[in-house]
Symmetry: C2
Subunit: 142 residues, 2 copies
């Protein structure tokens, strides 16, 4: 009786694959995982889940508000637990490490810019691509 609460209250039936995926996100130190990441990590721990199911569960979790999707470099999507507080991201081009930040001024000026032009903001994404300093950066494209 770990996360079934979440699943139930999110309107999702409590199943083994869903519990496993949710557990993974809650226990992993890397908060940003792609479908492939999830699939491989579950394989590694013996908690096998089909790849198609991983994709489906991620979509369901996203729609249920449990996960948030990000499209960084363009090709593959990554997901992170939705902790309620919106934030933007800095992605290291070398090691792919992701750091989060929040700037209230940026947020408000975004909304202002959109409103001035007659747009109703639904969502927004701000990603900074950078190189992080040596000690922290293993310089390995994971």
């Amino acid at each position: 009786m770990n996360q079934p609460i979440h699943l139930k209250s999110a309107g999702l039936k409590s199943t083994l694959p869903r519990i496993r995926v949710l557990n993974l996100f809650e226990s992993s130190d890397e908060h940003h995982l792609s479908a492939e990441d999830v699939y491989k990590k579950l394989l590694a721990t013996g908690d096998d889940v089909g790849l198609a199911t991983v994709y489906r569960v991620l979509i369901q979790f996203e729609q249920a508000g449990l996960l948030v999707r990000h499209n960084f470099a363009g090709d593959k999507s990554v997901f992170e637990l939705n902790q309620g507080k919106h934030h933007d991201h800095i992605v290291c081009l070398q090691c792919h490490r992701v750091e989060e930040f929040y700037d209230a001024t940026i947020e408000s000026r975004q909304n202002k810019a959109a409103a001035e032009r007659g747009f109703t903001v639904q969502d927004h994404s701000l990603n900074i691509y950078a190189n992080c300093i040596k000690p922290k950066c293993p310089n390995k494209p994971r």
Copy 2:
């Protein structure tokens, strides 16, 4: 003798497909075009160019600094002429219309946020996903 100047000075051999693609970007009212968009528009005008060539030319133009690539909704990339001045984008979720904006305060606060965390900014992208007002919005996913 239209754009060959650009191509030459960009270190690119002046060829028919490249001239056609460049002309398209310079004459199109829609400034943001995907590879598929370019391919179809050239087909429509009879200026046939192979799809693979379109992809190659877009990459070359991007590397040469003639075009800038954006990854909006996640799946496909769109390109626009590089006019030198960086800007962010507001994308209408309904009609896919793209509007540009620039906010110096946002820019500086981004750099500040990255610097404070020990990152050397290489690039950044800020996209606002919104719905635009009726008169402007044909509400058609083009």
